[in-house]
C-alpha cells in the first residue's frame, strides 16, 4: 500500500477488561473498523477506517468502546492546521474534489446563540401554557388583498391555496435515495401524526407513500427526477428547489450505486446510472423563467396547490426573494449556509452562502419595505437545532421552519458527516439492505413525534413567558429579541436591539 501521508483523526479505544468479544462491533461497522483475531481471541480496530459514527459505541453491551480524537499531532501551526494539511494530502493522493456531508461544521458565528428572548415581568402577565390555551397553528400562503362580500354582506372565501400546520415546523427536503425507505416512512408517518408536512426532496415519491399526500410537499428540482402529473397532484404543495444552503449554485449527484430497485423506479432513471441534477434548472436562466415554471406547475395542478420556491441564502438573497415573491411563489423557503446535505463539495459547503439568521432578517425586512410580505410566507431552514432556534427564527420574521439535520438526529444520526460514502451504519443515508433494516420506522416515527412534541411544549413555555398566546403574534416580533456580543451592523441587519437597551 502506498503511503498516503495521513494519520487517523480518531482512535478507537477498547477496554479489554470489559470487552467480552461478542463481536457486535465487528458486525455493526460497515466501514470494517473492527476485526476479530481468532488466534489471539481479541478484537482489534483500524482507526483509519473509523468515521466516528458511534454505532459500535452505542451498541457495545459492556460499554467497552469509546472513540476519541487522535492524540497524534502534526507540528503545531495555527495557519496550516491538521485539517488543512490532511485535506491537502488527500487531494494530492486522489486528484479529486473533496466531498463532505451534512452541514457546515466550521467555526463561523452562530447568530441564534447570540440572541436572547424576552419574558414578561409585572407590567404584563406571563401566561401559563398548562392552564390557558397556547396556539401554535399557522397558515402558509399568500393573503387575499381584498375582502369580498356577497349580496348579503357575508365575506366570500377568497383564500388562495395554503397549508395549515399545527406547529410551525416541517421536515425539509431529503430525497428517497439519499436517505432510506425507512427514513422516508418515519418522516411521512410523523408528519401525519403531528399535523405538519414532510418533503420528498428531489427523488420522487415512492408508491407506498402516496397515502400521506396531504402531509407531503413534492419537490421539483433541476434533475426533475420522478416528476409526473400524479406526483404533482399527490402532495399538499409543490416545492421548486432553486438552491440548497449546503451547496448554493451547484446541483446534486446521487451515485449509481444508490440507484437500485425502487429508487430507480421512483426516480424514473435506469438502475446503476448516476442521478445528476444540473446546477441550474435548464429552463430557468432568469427570474421571468422561474415565473413560467411556477405557473406551469400551477396550471398542471389546476391552481389547487401552493408553490414553494426554495432558495439558498446567498449574498443577494433579499433581492432574489423579492423577485421570487413577485413571480407567483406562495411560499419562499430560505436555506442557510449551515443546512445539511447528503453530499457536497467540501469547499462549496464550507465557504459559500450566508447564515440563515441574517438572510431571514434581511428578507423579511425587504419584503415589508416593499409592501409584499403578506403575498408570501417565509420558511427558514439551515440549522434549526432546538425549539429556541424556532422561536428566534419566528420572532425574526419566519412563518415556519424546516428541520432536516435535527430530524435525522432524532432517527439516530450521529453527524459523522459521511453520508456520501453510502455506508450509514444507522440505516438512514444508505441503501444497503443490511444497513437500512437497522432503522425501524415504527420507532423512528415515534422518536420524531417525541422530538416535536417536546419542542412544542418548549415553544409554548417560551411564548407563555413572553405573554404571547398565539404564535402569530410572535412572527416578526423582534422586540422580543436582544443581541449579546453583536456589533452595530449585525444588530442593524437582524433588526434587534442589544441586551440592556
Amino acid at each position: 500500500m502506498p503511503i498516503n501521508f495521513l494519520s487517523p483523526d480518531y482512535e478507537v479505544l477498547r477496554n479489554d477488561d470489559r470487552c467480552i468479544t461478542c463481536r457486535i462491533c465487528e458486525r455493526q461497522c460497515a466501514n470494517g473498523v473492527h476485526e476479530y483475531i481468532e488466534e489471539r481471541g481479541k478484537l482489534i480496530s483500524d482507526d483509519a477506517k473509523c468515521v466516528n459514527c458511534q454505532r459500535c459505541v452505542s451498541l457495545c453491551p459492556t460499554r467497552a468502546l469509546k472513540i476519541v480524537k487522535s492524540g497524534n499531532t502534526y507540528k503545531e501551526n495555527e495557519n496550516w492546521n491538521q485539517k488543512a494539511i490532511n485535506e491537502l494530502y488527500r487531494q494530492a493522493t486522489s486528484g479529486g474534489v473533496l466531498l463532505s456531508s451534512m452541514g457546515n461544521p466550521e467555526p463561523y458565528p452562530i447568530y441564534f446563540d447570540k440572541i436572547l428572548l424576552n419574558a414578561s415581568q409585572v407590567t404584563n402577565p406571563s401566561i401559563d401554557p398548562l392552564r390557558e390555551p397556547m396556539e401554535t397553528k399557522v397558515f402558509l400562503g399568500p393573503k387575499p388583498q381584498t375582502v369580498e362580500r356577497d349580496e348579503q354582506g357575508h365575506i366570500k372565501p377568497n383564500l388562495p391555496p395554503h397549508l395549515t400546520l399545527s406547529l410551525p415546523v416541517m421536515f425539509s427536503a431529503m430525497s428517497y435515495g439519499s436517505i432510506s425507505y425507512h427514513a422516508h416512512e418515519s418522516l411521512a408517518r410523523a408528519a401525519e401524526a403531528l399535523g405538519i408536512l414532510y418533503n420528498t426532496g428531489e427523488g420522487g415519491l415512492h408508491e407506498d407513500f402516496y397515502k400521506y399526500g396531504k402531509n407531503t410537499i413534492v419537490q421539483v428540482a433541476s434533475g426533475r427526477f420522478g416528476v409526473h402529473k400524479r406526483y404533482l397532484e399527490s402532495g399538499a404543495a409543490i416545492e421548486i428547489k432553486m438552491g440548497q444552503g449546503a451547496k448554493p449554485g451547484i446541483g446534486g449527484h446521487l451515485p449509481g450505486a444508490k440507484i437500485v430497485g425502487d429508487i430507480s423506479r421512483t426516480r424514473m432513471i435506469p438502475e446503476g446510472s448516476d442521478a445528476i441534477s444540473p446546477a441550474p434548472h435548464h429552463d430557468i436562466y432568469s427570474i421571468e423563467d422561474l415565473r413560467q415554471l411556477v405557473y406551469s406547475l400551477k396550471e398542471a395542478t389546476n391552481y389547487q396547490k401552493p408553490v414553494i420556491v426554495k432558495i439558498a441564502a446567498v449574498h443577494n438573497v433579499t433581492a432574489i426573494a423579492s423577485g421570487v415573491a413577485r413571480s407567483g411563489a406562495d411560499i419562499i423557503a430560505i436555506d442557510g449556509f449551515r443546512g445539511g446535505t447528503g453530499a457536497a463539495p467540501t469547499r462549496i459547503r464550507d465557504h459559500v452562502g450566508i447564515p440563515i439568521e441574517l438572510a431571514l432578517a434581511g428578507v423579511d425586512k425587504r419584503l415589508r419595505d416593499e409592501g409584499i410580505r403578506d403575498r408570501v410566507s417565509l420558511v427558514a431552514a439551515g440549522s434549526i437545532r432546538s425549539s429556541a432556534d424556532i422561536v428566534k427564527a419566528i420572532a425574526l420574521g419566519a412563518d415556519a421552519v424546516y428541520i432536516g439535520t435535527a430530524a435525522l438526529l432524532a432517527l439516530g444520526c450521529h453527524l459523522c458527516r459521511s453520508c456520501h460514502s453510502g455506508k450509514c451504519n444507522w440505516g438512514i443515508a444508505t441503501q444497503i439492505p443490511e444497513l437500512t433494516k437497522r432503522l425501524n420506522p415504527d420507532i423512528g416515527y415515534q422518536r420524531l413525534v417525541n422530538l416535536l412534541t417536546a419542542w412544542e411544549h418548549e415553544i409554548k413555555e417560551m411564548m407563555g413567558s413572553m405573554g404571547i398566546n398565539s404564535i402569530e403574534s410572535l412572527r416578526g416580533n423582534r422586540l422580543m429579541l436582544r443581541g449579546v456580543g453583536l456589533n452595530e451592523k449585525e444588530l442593524e441587519i437582524l433588526g434587534i436591539k442589544h441586551a440592556g437597551e
Binding site: R373, D374, N477, R478
Partner: protein
C-alpha cells in the same frame, strides 16, 4: 422624570359614556367618572375624546395641533394652506391650573381638502386627510396633529386626567359620546402627544394594558403605509382599527374577531358557517391579532366599542341606564355618575360591546 419617582405597577383608567339616541350632554360626567379612578393614573398623562361636540362645523375635519413654538406653527399652517381650505382657526380655550404646566401652543383648525389637491392625489377624501396628518407628524418636527376627525375632538395633556379636563374646560363641551383616559406609563417620558386618547380621523382609542404582540403588529401595519412614531400600544391599535375598518371594510364585530380572536378550540366548536368566517379572519389577518393584556374603548362617528383581550387580563365593566351606556375600568367610575343602573355586567375576554347611534346623523360621512 427619573426612574424611581414613579411606582412601577402598570395600570390605566379608561371610561366612556355613549348616548344611543344622540342626546348631547356635557363633559362634566366623564370628568367625574375618570376622577374616581385617580389611583389608576400617575400624573403622566390624561385625556378625553368627545363626539358630536362640533355640530356647527360637522362637515369639516377638526384638527387639534400641538406646536412647540411659533415657528413650527407657521410652517404647519403653510402646509395646511397648501392642502386644505381652512374654514376656521383658533386657540383651543384652556384654563390656567397649577397642575398643568409646560403647555405647548394648542390650536384648532376646521378644514376641508382643497378640491384640486384632492383630485390630483387620486385618493379618497379620508385617505388624503390621513396622509396629510402623517405627513405633518412625521415631517414637521415640533408640530403634532393629535385629533383629525369630523365633529369630534381629542383633548389631552401631561397630568392627572381630572386636571387635564379642567385645563381644557371640558364641561363647556357637549356631545353624545365621551371617552377618557388616565395614564400610568412605566417607560415613557411624559410628552403631551404621548397622552391618550390616540386618534386618527374620527377613530379614537383609549387603552389600558401592555400588549405582547406590539412589534409584530407594528411591523405589519407599517407595511400598509402607517408610521408608528410614538411607539405606544394605543397608536398601533388605532392604526389597526383604521386599517381593518376604513381600508378593509370589516365591521367592528369582525374587527374584534381579528384583534381579540377566539381561540382555535372555541372556533372548532362553532357551526360550520361561523367557523369558516373565523378561520378566514384569523388566517387573513393573523398579523393584526393582539395578544397580552388590554381593555380598549374605540370611538368613531356613530359608535363606541369596548373590547378586552382574549384572556381578559384587564378589568372592564359595562353599565346601562335608559339609552345611555357606560363603560369603564371600574364599576365605581360608572356608579358615581349613574348610581341606579338598569344593568351592569363584565364582558368576557374577546367579547365586544358595540353601541351605535340609532338613526342620528352625526356628520356628512355616516358609517
Amino acid at each position: 422624570m427619573k426612574e424611581g419617582q414613579v411606582r412601577i405597577p402598570a395600570g390605566c383608567a379608561i371610561s366612556g359614556i355613549f348616548n344611543k339616541s344622540g342626546k348631547r350632554f356635557s363633559g362634566e360626567d366623564i370628568l367625574r367618572s375618570i376622577t374616581v379612578m385617580h389611583d389608576r393614573s400617575n400624573g403622566l398623562g390624561g385625556g378625553f375624546a368627545g363626539y358630536g361636540i362640533y355640530p356647527e362645523y360637522k362637515d369639516y375635519y377638526a384638527f387639534h395641533i400641538f406646536y412647540d413654538n411659533a415657528l413650527m406653527k407657521k410652517e404647519c399652517e403653510e402646509f395646511l394652506e397648501r392642502h386644505f381650505d381652512i374654514i376656521n382657526l383658533s386657540k383651543i380655550p384652556t384654563r390656567k391650573t397649577k397642575e398643568i404646566t409646560d403647555e405647548p401652543l394648542i390650536w384648532r383648525y376646521f378644514v376641508t381638502p382643497l378640491p384640486t389637491k384632492l383630485s390630483a392625489s387620486q385618493l379618497d377624501e379620508r385617505e388624503f386627510v390621513s396622509k396629510c396628518v402623517f405627513r405633518i407628524n412625521a415631517r414637521i418636527n415640533g408640530a403634532y396633529v393629535f385629533s383629525s376627525g369630523k365633529n369630534m375632538g381629542v383633548f389631552k395633556a401631561v397630568g392627572f386626567p381630572e386636571a387635564v379636563g379642567r385645563f381644557y374646560r371640558l364641561e363647556e363641551y357637549e356631545g353624545h359620546c365621551f371617552t377618557a383616559h388616565g395614564r400610568y406609563p412605566t417607560n415613557t417620558p411624559g410628552w403631551w402627544g404621548g397622552a391618550h386618547p390616540f386618534a386618527l380621523l374620527d377613530y379614537s382609542v383609549v387603552h389600558n394594558g401592555e400588549i405582547s404582540s406590539y412589534d409584530a403588529n407594528r411591523r405589519s401595519i407599517e407595511m400598509y403605509g402607517y408610521r408608528c412614531t410614538l411607539q405606544t400600544d394605543t397608536e398601533v391599535i388605532t392604526y389597526i382599527i383604521d386599517y381593518l375598518h376604513r381600508q378593509k371594510g370589516l365591521t367592528f364585530k369582525e374587527i374584534s374577531a381579528v384583534i381579540a380572536a377566539p381561540f382555535w378550540q372555541t372556533i372548532e366548536r362553532m357551526p360550520p358557517e361561523k367557523r369558516a368566517l373565523h378561520e378566514y379572519l384569523r388566517n387573513v389577518f393573523s398579523a393584526q391579532l393582539i395578544t397580552g393584556p388590554f381593555s380598549i374603548l374605540v370611538g368613531w362617528n356613530g359608535g363606541l366599542m369596548a373590547l378586552n383581550d382574549r384572556l381578559k387580563l384587564r378589568s372592564m365593566v359595562v353599565g346601562e341606564k335608559g339609552d345611555t351606556v357606560y363603560m369603564a375600568s371600574e364599576e365605581s367610575a360608572i356608579r358615581i355618575i349613574e348610581p341606579a343602573l338598569d344593568k351592569v355586567w363584565m364582558p368576557k375576554g374577546g367579547e365586544p360591546v358595540i353601541v351605535e347611534l340609532s338613526g342620528v346623523e352625526v356628520n356628512s360621512h355616516a358609517h
